[in-house]
Amino acid sequence: MKFKEKLKQLPGSWYFLLIVILGYIIISIISTKIYLASLVFFNQIILKVIPIFILVFALMTLSNYFITPKFIIKHLKNKGLKKWFFVIIGGILSSGPIYMWYPLLADLKNKGLNYGLIACFLYNRAIKIPLIPLMIIYFSWQYIFVLLLVMIFASVVQGVLLNKIMEEKFKKIGDKKE
């Protein structure tokens, strides 16, 4: 009974891993050749990513230590073009699950942060500095450099676009009320 309860409490990702391991056990019975070939690939990938994970862990620790929500919120209160700049930087530096940021952003919206800036912040959260070493291992630094620049540009495009659409929505609501 206790084992069943513990099993129920397991996050979905552990079920995924268990299913894959079960699949490997079945394959080892059906075809040893495919099983061994898969393990060779697995070994190659693991050897490639383990040293990077140590670096990722160190960078994540530093990012958690220096970049706190308090630090980001303080800088999001800037005005004009500076605001866009700090929203981009804030999005890039922010860490933790995305849903953790929704209440904070809703609070900032009440204090004057518009929808476009919120969208821009959320888009830039996709850029994870501690994970850049892992990206460079799989891709190249030129690719990462270009991709990050294009993504920052896209975040501003999305922000401006959403601002226009959301403004029109409120304008229409205002017109109807009149």
């Binding site: 996050p11 990702s13 552990w14 891993l17 299913i19 894959v20 391991i21 699949g23 495919i34 070939a37 898969s38 393990l39 060779v40 690939f41 697995f42 990938i45 693991i46 990513v49 990722v56 862990f57 994540m60 620790t61 530093l62 958690n64 230590y65 706190t68 929500p69 308090k70 919120i73 995305i98 849903y99 929704y102 209440p103 904070l104 952003l105 809703a106 609070d107 929808y115 919120i118 969208a119 959320l122 888009y123 996709a126 994870k128 994970l131 892992l134 291992i137 799989y138 891709f139 030129q142 690719y143 270009v146 991709l147 294009v150 993504m151 896209a154 999305q158 959403l162 959301m166 929505k169």
Partner: protein
């Protein structure tokens, strides 16, 4: 620091280095089963699917490739580390760079699973518009990135 939202007081703490390390370790541990499972799955796929298969699915059509990549990235969820490993290995198997880029960008910018939470807190229209534009922008970002790289390299 305290912020007030809809009658709730949210406390934001400053982290110590130990807490920061624990938070980082927790984040990686949470992602661990998904990463390990993905690596095992990729290894199995690499062993059974010939490289020529990907070349036949992802032909020289930038828009279609990035659309497929963005679609797969949008419906996938989890730690971005998983997407980098998956995307990188798919690239090694012969999948085009536009498809992989759109997949990576959509994975981290489109959040279908978070839509209910995002709608409840930031508004339904905002959540839907943000995710739809993020999906389209993943395709645009992929094409522009590959075009720029093509000029650069």
């Amino acid at each position: 620091m305290m912020i007030k939202l809809r009658g709730m007081n949210l406390k934001i703490k400053n982290n110590s280095i130990k807490q920061s390390a624990l938070k980082a370790a927790k984040g990686l541990w949470m992602a661990f089963p998904m990463i390990l499972g993905t690596i095992l799955l990729i290894s199995f796929i690499s062993a059974i699917v010939p490289k020529s298969f990907y070349a036949s699915v992802f032909r020289n059509n930038y828009i279609l490739n990035s659309f497929i990549g963005s679609l797969i990235g949008s419906i996938s969820a989890g730690n971005p580390i998983t997407s980098y490993i998956f995307g990188g290995e798919m690239l090694n198997q012969g999948v085009g760079l536009t498809a992989v880029t759109a997949f990576l960008v959509a994975w981290v910018t489109v959040g279908i699973i978070q839509i209910p939470a995002e709608s409840a807190i930031l508004g339904k229209k905002f959540a839907l518009l943000r995710n739809v534009t993020a999906f389209i922008l993943a395709i645009v970002v992929a094409i522009i990135t590959v075009l720029i790289l093509g000029v650069m390299l």
